[in-house]
Amino acid sequence: METDVLIIGGGTAGCFSALTISESSNLKVIITDKANIKRSGCLAAGVNAINAYIGKGETAESFVDYVKRDAEGIIREDLVYSIAKGLNQVTKRLEDLGIPILKDENGEYVQRGKRSIKINGENIKPILAGAVTDKDNIAILNNVNIVDYLVKEDCVIGAIGFSLKENKIYEIYAKKILCATGGASGLYKPNNPIFSRHKMWYSPFNTGAGYAMGIRAGAEMTSFEMRFIALRCKDTIAPTGTIAQGIKTVQINGKGEAYVERYGKPTTHMRLYSTVMENLKGNGPCFLRTEGITDEQQKEFFKAYLNMAPAQTLKWLEGNTGPSHENVEIEGTEPYIVGGHTASGYWVDCHRRTTLKNLYAVGDVAGGSPKKYVSGCLVEGEIAAMSIINTIEDGTIPKLDNEAINEKIQYISYFFDTPSSRHSIQEIEIAMQKIMDEYAGGISKAYMYNKVKLDIAAKGIDELLSLIDKVKANDLYDLLSIFEIIDRLYVCKVLIKHLEARKETRWRCYQENTDFPEKDDENWMKYINSVYRDGDVNILFRQLVGRDKFYEHTN
């Protein structure tokens, strides 16, 4: 197939990029999604707030200040600033598309916090998907799993993948390629192993494919060591912000004491760190104090969670209880790599171009701009779309020669032909999660790691990668699972090297290096980037980029 623009991933950023291109040009767009874009990815169940919004009294500048402070100074200010300037406009666009936003008697949005507004986002994916489906120049390929980019002479010219519904391999060429896939979950042993192992914060089906494709193609990546670990309701892993911000309640330990501020400024990672430490000290379990809220408030929480994390409402009501009767226990999740929350992802310029020619990255896979959330992903989608429209050129798209493309097709088909292996796909997944948990700072080690452990982790991940060629696929779902585990292993490889490279502890829990337990501003106010080449992750350091700089790649 051939198109002007190929968008890989039909989530928030991908759909909004496609919409922008469709409404501002005549370019033809193909969106691929490995599920059905109506409910794919991290917004499948919904979302109940827009958490990146310039509220009353705030400005784009104060938003950047906040993100910088929360991320201990290591952000791409230029990227965050460009996002901040577009947040309110895209939120209005979201409302125009049909997302209900709570308003006061004056018709103004009701704020949940300085940078958060209340919505009903249960339908956010169906609404976004509906908007792109209506466009004549957008084609959607659902249930197509993209495996790798097609690269010719250091230029990305398309992508290759396979259908999950029929025996078909897709070879798609495009003038511009935009990666808008999700981040990576399932790298570490989860909170609830065995029966409920996928009851995690982030979509378990976001397995880091977009990162892994870029890594294998030699794209520069940034800040993988800034992991994201969510503070969530225990067991259900439902968001805590709805309660914490909704009724301005506090975190308390088992003794009923408010504890967060004992540990310093209550940044996102310090709320988590303080909870982990209280548990280590024997002061747990920790809770959000909700006992005594009104019945009306409780009913509203039941509704709010049904629109986003229905398991939490089920958990309360199936036990005939609720937050007015009992405090909500909280805990940290396993670590994730997700650029919508932290700074990990592709190293992009101000137009969201990656270091690979013709390849853009937006949303969860674009690095440098933490706390972009849903609305920030929309802005990034728009920025990339406008750059694509302004720079796309007429002309024929180069193609891979037959030998090169056949090699890629054979690689995808290969897993059906391997003899039965000793190890199942699930075994390899569990082994990877165990290695990462124990040696690369997982839950069981209170997120801490050191050099000796990371060396063991790196060796273990390489050994698992060498086993992959012996794994067999019996059907298309198995084939998907194999490529998902390959992608996760590549993300692990890069993550481990990044964790090792930052010889300080910058973000409690997110990056807790016990060899260097303190923050070191003198030496480490810089980005850790990497490029994968010939099996090795090569680390490079880059200087911080300020907010008024329009950073463009020079190499």
Partner: protein, 104 residues
């Protein structure tokens, strides 16, 4: 495990197979929907919302505090009715107006 599909109620429409973000639901030899790996389910409930005959129930496994209760939904266009049945068979119904924002 997280969802259960009632084969007797399933009308083989395939909507749940199409919508699952994890590609976890397929049809069996009798053309009825089944979840291939229940322990891989995220619990997003996309399938419940698509099912036109309320054949799919969502429940929590014991390891995350499930006590035997379950939930299912009825979609009425602008409204969504959620039914939650507790372990002791008490039934709750919560009506959600999709056009109205959450209060929190």
């Amino acid at each position: 495990m997280s969802i259960q599909i009632d084969k007797n109620k399933c009308i083989s429409c395939g909507k749940c197979c199409d919508i699952c973000p994890g590609n976890l639901i397929d049809k069996d030899d009798e053309n009825k929907a089944f979840i291939r790996l229940p322990e891989e389910c995220w619990g997003c409930t996309a399938c419940l919302k698509e099912c036109p005959v309320e054949a799919i129930k969502y429940y929590l496994a014991a390891d995350i505090g499930g006590k035997g209760g379950y939930m299912y939904s009825k979609n009425h266009g602008e409204y969504m009715d959620w039914y939650i049945v507790s372990a002791d068979h008490k039934k709750y119904c919560i009506k959600i107006n999709k056009k109205v924002s959450n209060a929190y």
